[in-house]
């Protein structure tokens, strides 16, 4: 759809021009930095190597939290989705802890894990773990009875086999969705995780740093970088899961 693409380019270009004009009119870099200033700052942080270092640290915090989230949430979600008893025991605890905003864990993160990268990872973890848990749970619980039945009449009768051969593959797209949501929430938490001084680098840290020295062009530059990285992570993950692992599911949805 070349027409659609054209519109999109015009839209972005138009927004940039309006931004630049608005910034000239306002003429207050604190209130609204210019687009050209932001581009300069961007160039500066790239050229100085700051960006690479920040990106690396933020991805580390993100990776620790997301990885831990995956490792912990998937087995628990599987148990809850497969066994009613496990569900009844674990669910009330999950329901109690889940609605606590991840950022509110900062005080305990510092006390428990000190000012380490793990403390930052812990905040990300608190944002990431529940979406994965809940989607794993839902995927398992929603496995159609007919697929279980048809497995059984074909000789797949032990719970272990039913989980491995039927429930898990069935739940995989749902788990992948959970991980995707978790990546979104987790990335948001990176900014909170880098608020309390676990290191002097990181994309989130830089937002606070530029804010403290009142360079709003720096703030905006890092905001945009945060957005772009998030978008990239999401697209890459979607590409991997949709186009490779989970072809069959996209097919199902498209054909609906």
């Amino acid at each position: 759809m070349p027409h659609g693409r054209l519109l999109r380019v015009i839209s972005l270009a138009g927004a940039t021009i309006i931004w630049e004009i608005a910034a000239s009119v306002v003429n207050d870099p604190l209130f609204l930095p210019r687009f050209t200033e932001v581009i300069q700052t961007f160039y500066h942080v790239v050229a100085s190597g700051d960006l690479l270092r920040d990106l690396f640290e933020s991805l580390m915090h993100f990776g620790i939290g997301l990885g831990l989230g995956i490792v912990i949430a998937i087995p628990i979600g599987m148990m809850m989705g497969w066994s009613r008893t496990a569900d009844n025991i674990i669910d009330p605890l999950v329901e109690l802890v889940r609605p606590i905003p991840p950022i509110a864990w900062i005080p305990f993160a510092i006390i428990w894990l000190h000012l380490t990268h793990y403390a930052a990872g812990f905040i990300v973890f608190m944002g990431a773990v529940f979406p994965i848990l809940i989607n794993t749970y839902a995927g398992f619980r929603d496995t159609p009875q007919i697929l279980i039945d048809s497995g059984k009449v074909l000789g797949c009768v032990r719970s272990r086999d039913l989980i491995k051969k039927i429930a898990l593959p069935y739940a995989l797209p749902s788990i992948a969705t959970g991980v995707r949501i978790a990546m979104g929430v987790g990335w948001m938490c990176v900014v909170a995780a880098e608020l309390f001084g676990v290191s002097n680098h990181g994309l989130g840290y830089k937002v606070w740093w530029y804010k403290d020295i009142h360079q709003m062009d720096g703030v905006l530059t890092y905001m945009l970088i945060l957005g772009i990285v998030s978008l990239t992570i999401d697209r890459v993950f979607r590409y991997i899961t949709d186009e490779r692992l989970l072809k069959w599911k996209t097919g199902l949805v498209r054909n609906k």
Binding site: L30, I110, I111, H114, L115, G197, N200, K211, I213, H214
Partner: protein, 307 residues
Amino acid sequence: IKTDEREEITTLSIGYQPSTHQAAHITAMEKGWWERDLAPFGIEKVIDKQFPSGPPEMQAMLAGDLDIAYVGSAPPITAIAEGLDAKIVACVNTNGSDLVLRPEINYTTPEDLKGLTIATFRAGSIQDTVFKKWLIDNNINPITDLTIKEMGPGDAITAISSKSVDGVFLPHPSPTIIESQGTGKTVIQSGEMWPSHSCCVLVVSGTLIRERPDLVEQIIKTHINATEYNLAHPEEAARLAAEKLSMNESLLSKSLKTWDGKWCTDPRVSIPSTLEYANVQYELGYIKKPLREEDLFDTSFYEKITE
């Protein structure tokens, strides 16, 4: 088990804030004096961590991340009340905060503050305590007569320049930064509000005090050296701070010329006002039990060095 725990201390962590109050640390760190002086005591590495304000710095110390802290004398009070094993061993500075109002506001007496919105540090900080006490002394009710907003120095500077607040009460160099931006002017300095009130102090962990008194002694000596050097070479102190804090050098030098703060080393100078802070905090319910001098201070090292 005990012997295992007492492994050799080879690394020291120092907490500080981005302020000219704590220039002694900056000078010692930048000139490599910490590592030079402490190496004979088995210290291989000295690292420092910057905090926007005292409470998070004290929380890090509570979590065991800091051995030494340059911090206002109020934040350690709540921390020690909640079980922080540490003592104040030296003074860092007194005074050094200014009340800055937007240029268009006329100020002659404290009465003029009525109805205004003033930003200062969080509840429990020195600035908060000094400012409120001064207001009360001048018959102004800090809750009903004006609005006090709590925030860190960065936010406060932003707040006054965007006219979100009418004034700020902040430690240096923030007042000079605001004046240079033309968004505010200093109307009164904290030494005028509460003469020689304690500001920053040097806090050392209880473990060091008990297990490595030799080391603590050297730390205080280095602090004294750096302080004396700064007093003799304020331009150099400003240059080092500007470099470390990514600030404008001439601004910092100007700040050091105009502030009413005094770098110092003798912990006994800080005792009276710090005890009064503790009293106020107890009355406000920030701490659950009253604290005495011996809970907060250990002056023995300083006395030993200087006698």
